[in-house]
């Protein structure tokens, strides 16, 4: 018991110190209060509105949502499990590595304590997406029980993934049963896929294929099936089978944790590399050098798996990049290493597939001349781009010293950093819209469809470019990462105004003068580009007064 007493005492002490530290730092208190206020603002109207859904979902919509959820969860789980065959995505703090590991405390007791400590953090991490979506869930007609079941589903995913992935690693790598475990995982994946397709009667070219997630062979499958069952019960009501699944999930989580505790021997080496990597990231984040990462380990392991898969090219770049353009060299190397070349990444085929799929849907149910689908598609992309604020190459470079030390103006440097990402996005959007347009044109022979395809692609690229420059401005105005977090809602609001007002004015004027949607789009595009250049010039002026220490906290 001595070991657990030591561990408990020092974690309690850390927690106490953390609370004291928050009390000492008014900025942090305000930040947390803002966060709580934000949660209350989300939850309160949603709970108050309970019983009066804004749009009640039909059974069909529920099936589509659940099918997408099932695909998402299965991808995360299998990527996490397969990557656990060779590497462990479980981390400790470097303080643990340097002080706790060499100490006389028993390694498996340290691990058990860590697994127990991880439960609340896994709960928070996995439930966070559900928290944001709670109002939407109420609006979709879910009652309190339904929302709780969605939480339960995500919670089960979070609580089961960590110990099961660890267990897979132990059996596979430490007990040398990789072939067995890989075989079991492969058979499971094939079984789930077969059940899905068999239930959908192999009708893979229609939306009916989405119904396959509710095959009994899937819903009764351990782990994955239980998680999907909880989410399904949110829409269609809980049956005694669901309560049995809750019991089984809890039992599995307990058994997996105990098995990890029993089987883990000499595991320190397996966790050190990730601990070092995360410590570097944390240090960078503390110094305001990186964008915030709020990713549960499953996402980390998925990322590691993907990075290992693609990040192994030896790259040579012959071209020279003089002066400020040296920043472009980094982009070229990075993109060549992780993509087909610097202009086209591995995601490009997905854009083509998405465009073809949208075109296919249009041909089945759309009306000739109706461009709503392509606008919706681009609208969704623009929405996603809007919420990608503060990530991207410019925010990364701004945290490094080279932007201050290399010759040239900030204007040129920011341009050198942003050109290639903007070009790549432009190519991807063109691939999406043109593949859609080509498919539609092949059947309708109406070449007009190319006009919105081209204009929307350019529009989205200009929007991306403008946004990158808003990020640059936000960084030079608020060099401190704490300030940026504090003012994040305000920055988003300003961003909306900066993007929206000029575009609305230019678009409105063009509509009034020409009554043509093409000219409206051209006007908005011009406004975006003008605004982007203006913002960059403004950042350039402000950057002149900045010192590097402003970025290093």
């Amino acid at each position: 018991m001595h070991d657990y007493a030591v561990l408990l005492r020092y974690d309690a002490l850390k927690l106490k110190n953390y609370v004291l530290e928050i009390r000492r730092n008014p900025k942090k208190i305000a930040l947390y209060l803002l966060f709580i206020a934000w949660i209350v603002m989300i939850m309160f109207p949603a709970i108050k509105q309970n019983g009066r859904p804004a749009f009640a979902v039909t059974a069909d919509t529920a099936h589509i949502v659940l099918a997408v959820y099932a695909l998402f969860i299965s991808s995360l789980m299998f990527v996490s499990f397969f990557s656990s065959l060779k590497t462990l995505s479980y981390s400790f703090q470097m303080g643990d590595v340097n002080l706790l590991f060499p100490s006389p405390l028993e390694p498996n007791r340290i691990l058990l304590w860590s697994l127990i400590k991880k439960i609340p953090s896994d709960m928070v991490k996995t439930c966070f997406p559900a928290l944001i979506l709670t109002p939407t869930m109420f609006n979709m007609g879910l009652d309190i029980e339904g929302v709780m079941l969605v939480y339960l589903s995500l919670l089960s995913f979070g609580l089961l993934s960590t110990p099961v992935s660890f267990l897979i690693f132990l059996v596979s790598a430490r007990y040398h049963k990789e072939r067995w475990v890989r075989g079991i995982l492969l058979i499971s994946a094939v079984w789930l896929l077969s059940c899905w397709l068999a239930y959908a009667r192999w009708d893979i070219f229609s939306l009916n294929v989405l119904l396959g997630y509710q095959a009994p062979g899937i819903l009764n499958f351990p782990l994955f099936g239980w998680i999907v069952q909880f989410a399904r019960a949110a829409f269609f009501g809980a049956t005694p089978v669901v309560y049995t699944a809750v019991f089984l999930a809890a039992l599995t989580a307990l058994a997996a944790n105990l098995l990890v505790f029993t089987l883990a021997r000499d595991y320190y080496e397996d966790v050190i590399e990730l601990a070092e990597r995360l410590e570097t990231l944390r240090a960078a984040k503390r110094g305001g050098k990186m964008r915030g990462s709020f990713a549960p380990f499953q996402f980390n392991s998925a990322k590691t798996f993907w990075t290992r898969l693609i990040n192994r090219k030896r790259v040579t770049v012959e071209r020279r990049f003089p002066g400020s353009w040296a920043f472009m060299f980094n982009q070229v190397v990075k993109y060549r290493r992780t993509g087909i070349n610097e202009y086209v990444g591995y995601l490009a085929p997905l854009f083509v597939i998405a465009g073809l799929a949208a075109g296919f849907i249009f041909l089945r149910s759309g009306q000739p001349g109706d461009n709503r689908l392509i606008y919706t598609l681009n609208g969704i992309l623009a929405y996603l781009l809007f919420f990608r604020s503060f990530s991207g190459p410019l925010s990364e470079e701004l945290a490094l010293p080279y932007i201050y030390t290399l010759p040239g103006t900030f204007f040129r440097k920011a341009l050198a950093i942003n050109i290639l990402p903007t070009l790549r996005l432009c190519i991807n959007v063109f691939l999406l819209n043109l593949s859609y347009a080509l498919l539609v044109y092949a059947h309708t022979k109406d070449a007009v469809i190319f006009m919105p395809a081209v204009l929307l692609s350019l529009l989205l690229a200009s929007f991306y470019f403008e946004q990158s420059n808003i990020i640059a401005l936000a960084h030079v105005l608020l060099p401190s990462s704490i300030d940026r977090k504090f003012f994040y809602p305000l920055i988003l609001f300003v961003e909306l105004l900066l993007v929206g007002i000029p575009a609305l004015m230019a678009g409105g004027l063009a509509a009034w003068l020409t009554h043509s949607e093409w000219f409206v789009e051209i006007a908005v595009l011009t406004a975006n580009m003008a605004m982007a250049i203006l913002l960059l010039l403004l950042s350039n002026k402000i950057f002149y007064y900045l010192e590097m220490r402003d970025f290093i906290e």
């Binding site: 020092y10 110190n17 470097m94 100490s103 006389p104 405390l105 050190i272």
Partner: protein, 242 residues
């Protein structure tokens, strides 16, 4: 009869994928010895120390500390490790770190020694500050204090003097002398040759994971035929490519 060796390493090999970091090392340390572990970058010094203290798994070979296999509770009870990079608990104060270590090693009446160490390294004033508020050099000093206060019989130092100011290096040397006199076994991996020249009773030089020289400074000098050579000259000579 009690074993005269506190550390025994038998044919230790450590591989990372295809790269061999430590290659069939075989040596022992007597109780009370002070050993300097030298070698160029990438020689395998840190890997060797991490294998001994249980942070890395040997690919093959055995390690015994005070007669106990590495990683066992009895082995760790007599071992202290001072890492190269002083990454500690950000949310614990300097004093709480020492309390934590003495709790883990079950050391009673540690306060007086803790104060003595903190004063020696001139971080007594910072005893109630969080580690995250300390400079890198101060963290290194705290890391040294944590290792020393454990009361371990064998201490492994990985680049202990990096980041220390000249006064702290002098104090560290004095402390090493005190620990030697107290019968502790010290294993010091470093690139700073001058400070350890007069401290170590034995020098082990690693290169590409293998021991290329092992003996007292005098033995190494006489092997090279240069009686007045400094440790730096000996090091450069033995690590020079043939």
């Amino acid at each position: 009869m009690e074993n005269e060796y506190i550390l025994e390493i038998q044919h230790l090999t450590k591989k990372f994928s295809k790269k061999t970091a430590v290659d069939d090392l075989h040596f022992s340390l007597r109780k009370g010895e002070t050993v300097g572990l030298l070698g160029p970058n990438g020689a395998g010094k840190s890997t060797l120390i991490k294998c001994i203290v249980g942070l890395l798994r040997p690919t093959s070979g055995n390690i015994f500390i005070a007669g106990n296999p590495r990683g066992s509770r009895k082995a760790r009870q007599v071992t202290a490790y001072i890492p190269e990079v002083p990454q500690l608990y950000n949310m614990l104060t300097v004093w709480e770190h020492l309390r934590f270590i003495t709790d883990a090693y079950e050391i009673a009446r540690w306060e007086e020694r803790a104060e003595q160490l903190l004063r020696l390294f001139e971080i007594w004033e910072q005893r109630d500050e969080f580690v995250k508020a300390l400079s890198k050099g101060m963290r290194q000093k705290l890391s040294l204090c944590c290792g020393i206060i454990s009361g371990a019989r064998i201490l492994f130092f990985d680049e202990p003097m990096v980041g220390l100011d000249p006064r702290a290096i002098k104090n560290f040397k004095d402390l090493i002398q005190e620990l030697k006199e107290g019968g502790r076994t010290l294993f010091i991996s470093t690139h700073l040759l001058d400070p350890i020249e007069n401290i170590c009773s034995r020098i082990i030089v690693l290169k590409k994971g293998k021991i290329i020289a092992d003996g007292s400074l005098e033995e190494l000098r006489s092997r090279l035929g240069e009686e007045n050579a400094s440790l730096e000259e000996v090091f450069l000579e033995v690590t020079a490519d043939a």
